[in-house]
Point group: C2
Chain length 585, copies 2
C-alpha cells in the first residue's frame, strides 16, 4: 500500500508514530514560515505541517508547487496539534512531514470540491468523477451501500435466496417502452431489457424456490421526468405459500430493520390503510401521514344553500389548517393562485376563518350564515383560530386538487419534517383502472395481480369494482414500492388477459411460458418490489434520486460524461441487419 | 402462511404437534390400506401418512386423485415413524393427515423431477422452471447465493463499497462485440451494454472511492461456445493507492474466506508463478497444479543424434507419466491419436519406457542408445516404471500440445480430484500480444493495463518483451479471474492507445472522458474481475456454468423457454428509427 494509514485514522494515541498517508490536496495554507496541507481521502482529512527551517528546503519547495486536487504521498511523524480542531476526527494531531511524493498532478478543477460547490448541474454531470469527490455525494453512495448490505442481511436471515434473472429477455407490447437489443446471430430479432423481473420471479416460485430476492437493474424507455432514470434499481422479492399479510409483515420487518440499523430510528407498526380510505381522507394513494389535516366532506352542510358552485359539485370537501385564521388577504390569494395553477387545476378556493372571537369569516358569506359555517367547523372539530380551505367539483378531481393543497399547507406549516419517517401500507387497490385513451380497462398494478377472491364474481359484471390483493409501501407521501398476490392459475390468468384486451393468441404468444408453467403445480405466491434509488434518497431525507446514483443520465437520457448514446459504425449496423431511417424534418 | 412448518423442519421432538405443510407431491405409494405421500419443498421432504379405516374416506379419495407435482396443503399430527429413514433429516417422523387441500394441479411433467432426470437438454431448457425443481440445480443456486453473501461479507469487512455502474453505456469499436441498444429519443444513436464496468470503476478510483466492488452482469456478443453465455456475472473490484501485491493478498484473502466459509476447506498460501515459468513448466497460463508432471526440456540431450524431427525442432519437451511404463502398444497408440487430434495438432508422440529392470524402450530406439535415453530419464528424475512422453516442434505450439497431453494424462491417472483445490496466481503477463490477423499488437488484458515501470523503456524498441503488472487467479487449471495495475497517467495512456493502433482522435473520441479524468489527480490504482458463474461451478467441482445460472441461454444465445430473441412490431421499429435489412440468401 502507498500508505500506512488512511486520512481518517490517526488520533492523539498515535503521536510519535511514523506514518505514510496518500490522498488529495484539499487545501494549502502558506503563512510564510509555516505551510499546512489538508490531505483528503474517502475516510477523512489529515493536516500536514511543514515548517521553514525545520523541514528541508527542497521539501518546502515541493510543497509550494502543489495545487488543489494533486495526489500526493506524504511521510512523517504524528505530532500533537497546538490548536486542536474538535470538529475533525483527526483534529488533535497533524503530521510533521519529512517527505512528499507527487503521485499525480491536477489541473484546476472546473468547480470547487466543497460541500457547497460553485459548479452548475451540467458541468458537474460532465465531470461526474470530480463531483463524486464531494462529501454530499460520497455520503449518499456510502448510505446506499449500507442500505444494500442491510437489505441483504435481513432477507438472507429470513431465508430468501438472491437469484439472478436474465437481462436479455423478450420484448412485450404490453407496457411498451422496452429498450430492445438487436441480435446479431438471429437476423431481424431482438432481445428486450427487463422493466422488471416479474415473470421470472414468478417462475422461480413455480420452481419451488420459496423466497427469492434480487437487487436488480430495471429499464424503462419513458419520456423522462426530472426524477426518473431510464435505468433504475429495485429490491425485487417474491414469496410462495403466503397470504397478503405474510408479505406485509415480512417487509414491514425489513423497513424496521433498515431504519434501525442504518438510521438508528425505531419505526412504529405500520398502518394498513385501504385505498378507498386513503383517497377519501387524503385524496391520494400515497398519503403523507406525518401530519393530519384529513379531508372532511361537506356535501350535507354546504349544498342546497343557494351557492351554485357547491350545489352542482359532486363533492364539496375541505381541510382544516389549524391556527391559520389570521392569514391575510394576500396569503389567501396566494393559496387561491396555488390551487388554480394548471398542475393543480381547481377553479377557485373557498375559505372559512374561525376567528379567535368565535365568529366566522368566509369567502362565501353571501350564501352561508354564521350558523351554516358553524356546522362546517363542527365537522372538522375546528377551534377558534383555525382556517378551513374548501374545494368542490368532480369527486376524483377535487380530491387530487385538495391533496395538492394539503401537501402545500403541510409544507408551509412545517409539518413535513424530513427527519421524521411515517411509513404505511396502502392496501385493497382496485384491480383495474379505466384507460380513457384506449377506451378499455388496464391493470392498475400489472396483469399478474390476483383479484380478491370475494370480488372475482364481479370480474364480468362490474370489473371496475373488483379489488386486488395489492399493496403499496408509502413513506412520507412517496410510493417506495408495491406488490401483490399473483394469479397462479392458468384459467384465471387467461381470463385476466382477456379483460385487458389481449386475444388468446396474443396472450399465449407473449406469456404462454408463464401460463404453461401454471399447469405444472404453481404454488400461491406474491411479492413486492421497492425502488432502491428512491429508498436511498428517502433515507437521506432528499428528493432527487440522481444524487444517489454514481453515474446517472440527464433528463434527456444522456450520459454527458461519456457522451452516450452515440452513433455506431455502418459495419456494426450491417452485422446487426439494421439500417437507420432518418426522419424527414 | 399456508404452512406452520417447512417440509424440512420437523423432527422427533415435534411428535404430537399439529402442523400444516405445503409443497409438491414428490411420490405417492398406495399399498391398499396405507397411502404414503412424499411432500417436497425447497427445504426438504416430509412423509404424509393416510390409513384406510382411520383416515376419513373422503380424504383417502382425495389422496387417490393426486399426481406427481400437485401442490397441496396438508394438515395433521406429527407421529413417530415405525420404520425410520436415517438418510432423511425428517426420517424419524411422518404426518398423520387429517386434511388435504389441493392448491394447484399438475399435468404429468415432461421429465421426471429426480436427481437423475430422464429429460434431454433442450426439453429441460424449455421447461426450465421444472428442471429448477431438481435437487442438483437447487443446490447449485443455493451455493451461488451463499457465495455471493460471503463475497460481499468479506469485501464489506475490508472496506469495499458496492457501487452500481450504468448498464446503458457507450459503444466502443475496440473489442467490438458490444450488444447495442437503440435510443428512441436520440435518432440514429445507440447505447451499448457493458462488457465490463472497467472505465467506470477506474473513474470511481479517480473520484476517491478507494475500494469498490460490484457483483455485476456483463455482456458479450460473441459466437458462443458451450461454456459461454452472452450475459455473465463478474465480481468486479478496484482499489486505489495499491501495488500489485496488495491486490493479490486482498483477493487471496477472499479466496480463502470463500473456501473456508462455503466449503470448510483451508487453502494453502497461493503461489505467485510468473507467466514465463507457467508456460515453460506447464505450457499454459492456467496450469492445473493439483499434480506435478512438469515439462522437462530435452534439446541438449535429444538433438544432434540424427533424429531429424528433433534436430529441426525449436523445442523438444516432455513429461513423465509416473508408473506408466507398462502401457501397452494400444494405450500408447491412443495417446498418439490424442495428440494428433486437430484440437491438439501434434504430428506424433515419442515415448520412452523406463522398464522395471532398468532398461529403456522407446519409439526412437533407432536413433538413441540406452545411454542417451538414460540421460533423458535423468533430467526427469524418473524411476523404473515411469513413462516419458515427448513432443517437439515450434516452441509455442509444442508447449500448448504438451499441455493438452499433460492434462489428459492427469485425468487418466486420476490426479485431478474435483474435491481438491489448488489456486495460484499467474503474474508478470506480457503487456501485448501479436495479432497475426491484424498485423499489429493488441493488449493481452486490456488497454488500461500498466506496463511494469522497469520495462517501459522497451515500449518503443521491443514492445513484445514488455511485461505488465497483470495477474490471473487460476484454480485447478481454470482461469477464474484476472486483473492488473492500471495506467493512471494521461500521457502513458495515450501512448498505449497509439501502440494499439488508435489514432489520437479515435482515442480521444472513445476514451477521452477517462484520459481527461487522469488530468485531475488520479491515484495509482488496480483491480480484478472474477467470473462469478465459473467460480460457482468450480466450488461445486463442475464444468458447466449453465447449471449455475437460473435462466441461461442455449448455444445459439436463445432463451428457448420464453422464446427470445424475437421479432418486434413495425411500430416499435419506426419509433426507434430503424429498419431491418434482410440479407440476400
Amino acid at each position: 500500500m502507498l500508505r500506512t494509514h488512511t486520512c481518517g485514522a490517526l488520533r492523539i494515541e498515535d503521536v510519535n508514530t511514523e506514518v505514510t498517508l496518500s490522498g488529495w490536496v484539499q487545501k494549502i495554507r502558506d503563512k510564510g514560515g509555516l505551510i499546512w496541507i489538508d490531505l483528503r481521502d474517502r475516510y477523512g482529512i489529515t493536516q500536514l505541517l511543514l515548517e521553514e527551517g525545520r523541514t528541508g528546503e527542497q521539501l518546502i519547495a515541493t510543497a509550494r508547487t502543489l495545487g488543489r486536487e494533486y495526489v500526493i504521498k506524504a511521510t512523517g511523524t504524528v505530532i500533537e496539534r497546538v490548536s486542536k480542531n474538535p470538529k475533525m476526527a483527526t483534529g488533535d494531531i497533524e503530521i510533521d512531514v519529512v517527505d512528499i511524493e507527487v503521485l499525480s498532478q491536477s489541473k484546476v478543477p472546473p468547480f470547487t470540491i466543497e460541500d457547497n460547490t460553485d459548479g452548475g448541474e451540467e458541468l458537474r454531470m460532465k465531470y461526474r468523477y470530480l463531483d463524486l469527490r464531494r462529501n454530499p455525494l460520497k455520503n449518499n453512495l456510502e448510505l446506499r451501500h449500507r442500505l444494500s448490505i442491510e437489505t441483504r442481511k435481513y432477507l438472507d436471515s429470513e431465508g430468501f435466496l438472491e437469484i439472478e434473472t436474465p437481462y436479455l429477455i423478450k420484448s412485450t407490447p404490453e407496457g411498451a417502452r422496452d429498450f430492445v437489443v438487436p441480435s446479431r446471430i438471429h437476423e431481424g430479432e431482438f432481445y428486450a431489457l427487463p422493466q422488471s423481473p416479474q415473470t421470472f420471479k414468478q417462475l422461480l416460485m413455480v420452481a419451488g424456490y420459496d423466497r427469492y430476492y434480487q437487487l436488480v437493474k430495471c429499464f424503462r424507455d419513458e419520456d423522462l421526468r426530472a426524477d426518473r432514470q431510464p435505468e433504475f434499481t429495485q429490491i425485487d422479492c417474491e414469496m410462495a405459500f403466503v397470504e397478503q399479510e405474510d408479505i406485509l409483515s415480512t417487509f414491514e420487518g425489513m423497513v424496521k430493520h433498515l431504519f434501525k440499523t442504518v438510521k438508528g430510528i425505531d419505526i412504529e407498526p405500520l398502518e394498513r390503510m385501504p385505498y378507498e380510505k386513503a383517497m377519501k381522507l387524503y385524496g391520494s394513494d400515497k398519503p403523507d401521514i406525518r401530519f393530519g389535516m384529513q379531508f372532511v366532506e361537506l356535501n350535507d352542510v354546504a349544498q342546497n344553500k343557494g351557492f351554485n358552485v357547491f350545489d352542482q359539485a359532486e363533492l364539496v370537501v375541505g381541510i382544516n389548517a389549524e391556527g391559520c385564521a389570521a392569514y391575510t388577504r394576500k396569503q389567501l390569494d396566494k393559496l387561491t393562485d396555488f390551487v388554480r395553477r394548471p398542475q393543480v387545476g381547481a377553479k377557485g378556493l373557498v375559505y372559512v376563518k374561525y376567528n379567535e372571537d368565535g365568529s366566522f369569516k368566509s369567502s362565501v358569506d353571501k350564501f352561508f350564515s354564521q350558523d351554516d359555517l358553524k356546522s362546517w367547523t363542527g365537522k372538522f372539530d375546528a377551534k377558534p383560530g383555525d382556517l378551513l380551505l374548501v374545494l368542490s367539483g368532480e369527486a376524483d378531481k377535487v380530491r387530487k386538487q385538495l391533496n395538492e393543497l394539503r401537501l402545500e399547507m403541510g409544507t408551509r406549516l412545517e409539518l413535513r419534517d424530513p427527519s421524521v419517517y411515517k411509513p404505511l401500507w396502502v392496501v385493497d387497490f382496485p384491480l383495474l383502472e379505466w384507460n380513457e385513451d384506449n377506451n378499455r380497462y388496464q391493470a392498475m398494478h400489472h396483469p399478474f395481480t390476483a383479484p380478491k377472491p370475494e370480488d372475482i364474481n364481479m370480474l364480468d359484471t362490474d370489473p371496475g369494482k373488483v379489488r386486488a390483493n395489492a399493496y403499496d409501501l408509502v413513506i412520507n407521501g412517496v410510493e417506495i414500492g408495491g406488490g401483490s398476490i399473483r394469479i397462479h392459475n392458468r384459467e384465471l390468468q387467461k381470463r385476466m388477459f382477456g379483460i385487458l384486451g389481449f386475444t388468446d393468441e396474443e396472450a399465449q404468444n407473449q406469456f404462454g411460458f408463464l401460463m404453461n408453467a401454471f399447469e405444472y403445480g404453481a404454488p400461491p405466491h406474491g411479492g413486492i418490489a421497492l425502488g432502491f434509488d428512491r429508498l436511498a434518497a428517502m433515507f437521506a431525507g432528499q428528493d432527487s434520486i440522481r444524487e444517489f446514483i454514481a453515474f446517472p443520465k440527464n433528463n434527456a437520457g444522456r450520459d454527458v460524461m461519456i457522451d452516450s448514446p452515440s452513433t455506431i459504425s455502418n459495419e456494426q449496423l450491417t452485422e446487426l441487419h439494421l439500417q437507420v431511417v432518418k426522419e424527414e424534418k
